[in-house]
């Protein structure tokens, strides 16, 4: 409610903040021209000054980093044109301009414009690396946008032919300086793109002052370079001079002849390279082959011929067979020997000898038998003879030889008659004589002792 009717009341800080935002967003970059006064350079190295004209004064500052890049030293009373951004310093409530770049008036303006354009285009991304296309390795046609006269075109052609003679060089003549140069270059780039036969465009010019190079710093040329679908090599000025064209181009060459060198490979070197590759191919393959061959040959030599194994086996087999037959024959021989030994022993132990011994025993016994029988008989006979002769010697009849005789009864008793009285007359008696006997009859008996 209050806010609707009653006036808005700011705090100092609040207002200051809003002012700061307002100022800083409204004037991110401003170009400002004026006269330097109140210049002071404290120990910090920054440079504080005021820039004034007839009617007003504005505080300015340039920091040490930017100061370093300045080609001149700012002084009091010097009129300069500079570029910077407005900034409000809240604690003091004052504003100032922080210069990025400044230059003494005159040349300074042109330079400042260059810097501005460069910044703008950079902000737009024209310089971005992502937009830069790579150059063809070997362009077949090169368009050279430059002045058809003078050293620049000659240098480029010379270097190109030295490096790679068989290339199509197309010179697109343009004014490179003064009125119309900007348009010429712009149109030349467009034309070459329209023809679309070239693979590279070289935009070239010799060195010169900033004014001389104005066309190459122009926004139109820059945009034409950026728009070109054919890669553009910028070769403007000598070494240290950079142009907007340099920044936009796909490649910046320090000099025109350098541009030719960058765009074209050296044919001799290429040829040499290819031959080298070719040789490397051959060498590598041959080395590989040689290696493989060695490997195969080594393996081949290691591939053991089984013949030696066959020989070994043959020897082993022969040995086994020799042992087999040797053993068998040996066994047979041993058996044979044993058999013959036992056979001989059998013969030796044959009962033949025993038989003959027994025979001998038998015969001996037989002889003994007979002998003992014979001796038995002989001894019996001699015993009988002995007794017989003894008997003979003892014979009681021996007296008869002397004339005696013996008279016996003739009865069974054969009793010797020694007493005549024992007889009767008529008795038959037997008288034994030395030789023979007599049978007598008793006739008479006489008594004892009467007979003598």
């Amino acid at each position: 409610m209050n806010s609707k009717n009653s006036p808005q009341i700011y705090t100092v800080s609040g207002l200051t903040r809003q002012l700061k935002q307002l100022i800083e967003s409204t004037y991110p970059f401003v170009w400002l021209t004026g006269e330097i006064s109140n210049l002071s350079r404290p120990a910090s190295g920054h440079c504080y000054f005021s820039l004034k004209d007839d009617g007003a004064l504005i505080n300015g500052v340039m920091f040490r980093n930017q100061l370093k890049r300045m080609p001149f030293n700012p002084e009091n009373g010097m009129r300069i044109t500079g570029m910077g951004r407005l900034s409000l310093y809240e604690p003091r409530g004052n504003y100032q301009i922080i210069f990025e770049h400044m230059a003494p008036d005159g040349a300074g303006l042109l330079h400042a414009k260059f810097e501005l354009l460069k910044k703008q285009l950079a902000a737009e991304g024209l310089f971005d690396k992502s937009h830069k296309s790579t150059l063809p390795f070997l362009p077949l046609k090169i368009s050279i946008i430059t002045s058809p006269t003078g050293a620049v075109v000659r240098d480029i052609i010379q270097v190109s032919q030295r490096r790679f003679s068989g290339i199509h060089l197309e010179v697109v003549p343009v004014k490179v300086q003064g009125d119309g140069a900007e348009t010429d270059i712009e149109q030349a780039i467009e034309t070459v793109n329209k023809c679309a036969t070239s693979q590279v465009i070289i935009v070239a010019r010799g060195g010169g002052s900033l004014e001389d190079l104005a066309a190459f710093n122009s926004e139109r040329v820059a945009r034409a370079v950026f728009a070109s679908s054919i890669p553009v090599v910028s070769a403007v000025g000598h070494e240290t001079d950079f142009t907007i064209c340099d920044f936009v181009s796909d490649l910046r060459a320090p000099t025109p002849s350098a541009a030719a060198e960058l765009v074209l490979p050296e044919r001799k070197k290429l040829h040499r390279d290819i031959i080298t590759y070719e040789n490397a191919l051959e060498t590598a393959l041959k080395r590989g082959l040689k290696h493989l061959k060695t490997q195969v040959k080594t393996l081949n030599s290691r591939l053991k011929n089984p013949r030696s194994r066959v020989d070994d086996l043959r020897m082993r087999l022969e040995d086994l067979e020799k042992r087999l037959t040797g053993r068998m024959q040996g066994q047979l021989k041993a058996h044979g020997e044993r058999l013959s030994w036992y056979t001989n022993a059998l013969y030796a132990a044959s009962p033949l000898r025993r038989v003959s011994e027994q025979k001998e025993t038998c015969r001996f016994l037989h002889r003994q038998l007979v002998q003992s029988m014979v001796s038995t008989l002989t001894s019996a006979r001699s015993k009988i003879h002995e007794n017989h002769s003894k008997l003979g010697a003892l014979s009681p009849l021996a007296v008869l030889h002397r004339g005696y005789s013996i008279t016996r009864t003739r009865d069974s008793k054969q009793k010797i008659i020694t007493d005549s009285t024992t007889t009767k007359n008529g008795d038959s008696v037997e008288v034994l004589l030395s030789k023979g006997r007599l049978i007598c009859q008793v006739e008479k008996q006489y008594a004892q002792k009467e007979n003598i």
Partner: protein, 76 residues
């Protein structure tokens, strides 16, 4: 532009093949194939080097504003 691409890619292919062959990791059959391809690449590149035309011209607009190509005599 097809041809422009081919010289460079062929040269690169050749380089790659040399690297592969020198690495010694290929089989013999692959090696031979690569070698063959490499030789073809080499041949193609060498021929390309030989066959590029040698020409210096001047691109002009005639009175009607049409483009004309004229020989450019840079030696004068």
């Amino acid at each position: 532009m097809p041809r422009k691409k081919t010289f460079e890619s062929t040269l690169m292919q050749l380089e790659e093949i040399v690297r592969e062959l020198e690495s010694g990791t290929l089989t013999l059959e692959e090696s031979i194939k690569k070698f063959e391809t490499g030789m073809a690449c080499s041949k193609y590149c060498l021929q390309t080097l030989d066959k590029t035309e040698k020409k210096i011209t001047l691109l002009m607009k005639d009175s009607q504003g049409d483009l004309v190509e004229e020989p450019f005599n840079h030696e004068s």
